[in-house]
Structure formats: C-alpha cells, structure tokens
Subunit: 135 residues, 2 copies
C-alpha cells in the first residue's frame, strides 16, 4: 500500500473543503495512507524527506494517465508531497525535491491544491486498476 | 457586470461541491452573474450561443494572469462556457466555440471543473482589481 505524507501549512478553514478531503481520503482507504503534516515549519521538515515531490507552478506537468504511470513506475510507494504557502516554496526545498510537479498553468488556492492532489492520486490508482472512474 | 452562462449536464450530487459552488457564487455577487444551464441537451443549446468558450483537454492553456487579461480584453462581458460530460464535447460544439480552453493537462471530474471554472473567474476579476486574493 502507498504511504503518502502531505507537508503544508494552515488549517483547512472551509467546511466544503473539509468534506471534500474526507470524501477522497475515504475513497483512498486501503489503497493509500495519507498523513497530513500541517506545520509552520513544513519546509524544514520537507528538507529531511527522502522521496520529496514539490508542487510548484514552474514544475513539470503530466496528463493523469502519465501521472499514473509515473507514480507506479518511478516515484515509488513512500512519498512526501510539499505544497507551498502564499509565497511559494523556497529554492532550497525545490532543489531538494526529487520531482517538481505543476498541476496546471493556472494558480489555485493553496488549500484547493490539497483536494486536487488527493483526487489525482485517487485517479492515478483507478487508472492503474483499469476502473471506470477515469472516463 | 459580467453575465456568464455555464452549460453542462448532471446535477451536483456531492454536498461539498454544492457548498463550494455556493461560496464562489456568493463571492462573485455584484461582479459576475452566473446562470447555470443544466440540461441533457446542453450541446444543442451551446451551438446557438454567441460567445462560446468550450472547456476541453485539447484547448489552449493560460496562466491565471493571462486568463484575467484575456477575459477583460478579448472575451467580453457576455460569455457561455460549455463543459462536456464523460465522453467530452462533440466536434460540432468544439468547432462552433470562439475559444477552446484547457484548465490543465490533468483530467478532473466534470463536476470539479465547475468549481475550478468559478474560482478562476473570481480570481481573474480579483487580479484585474489588484486585490490581495491572488497571492
């Protein structure tokens, strides 16, 4: 089973986002374990992580199909994702990341990125299993 | 004030998405009027719309800043966005669109696209007004 850490800062304030994250965590149960590391020093923590994937607008982008392949073939089953705050990630964190991934050329709220990340991880697993979730 | 139609099919089922859409519609109040056209024949309706923007993975992509400029300078204040179902949009609809816009190389659920669209339209207005919402 995948074990994924998500490192970021700031509590989820909106009720809708709490419900949405719960929904995708429920869907991921038994497939992927999600551990939230919500800490103002999340960047320092990130620097100590081994398989660090940084979410940043200047990163590489993938289709959901390629993301699924990459997740299973290259990234491995123990991963830490780091999501920057309003000012983005430090160059030190970006340098220490194994991969820098851009979700979209659009800017999303840092909180909405959490939801898009979970949905894409769930989608990646469903694509790999050939389920009907992905089209 | 902007007047925007969103043409698509399928009721919003998830509570979290209902709450999220309400939140962004509330934020858009007085800035943009959103009219939902949820109809199984949404593609036929779309063909009759003048300023049609089709959301499709094979479209052009924009940063949020360029989207804001494009919205104000080129697209105009009366717009219809069309979001395809599970099988995507017909070639007829894609051909009749003024612009084909891709939110991301990733695939999102057709329902989540509604939320991302509203958030980006709200962000585009805030960028134009120089507010603190965008970074």
């Amino acid at each position: 089973m995948f074990k994924v850490k998500v490192l970021t800062e700031g509590k989820v304030k909106e009720k809708w986002l709490q419900l949405a994250l719960e929904e995708y965590e429920k869907r991921l149960m038994g497939k992927m374990e999600i551990q939230w590391v919500i800490d103002k020093d999340f960047e320092e923590i990130a620097l100590k992580e081994k398989n660090l994937i940084a979410l940043d607008p200047n990163g590489s982008s993938y289709s959901s199909e390629i993301l699924s392949e990459t997740l299973f073939a290259k990234w491995g089953a123990r991963l830490s994702f780091v999501i920057g705050g309003a000012t983005g990630l430090s160059s030190q964190v970006l340098k220490s990341a194994k991969v820098v991934w851009s979700l979209s050329p659009l800017t999303f709220t840092h909180q909405m990125v959490r939801l898009i990340l979970l949905e894409q991880l769930y989608r990646a697993i469903e694509i790999n299993q050939g389920s009907s979730y992905h089209k």
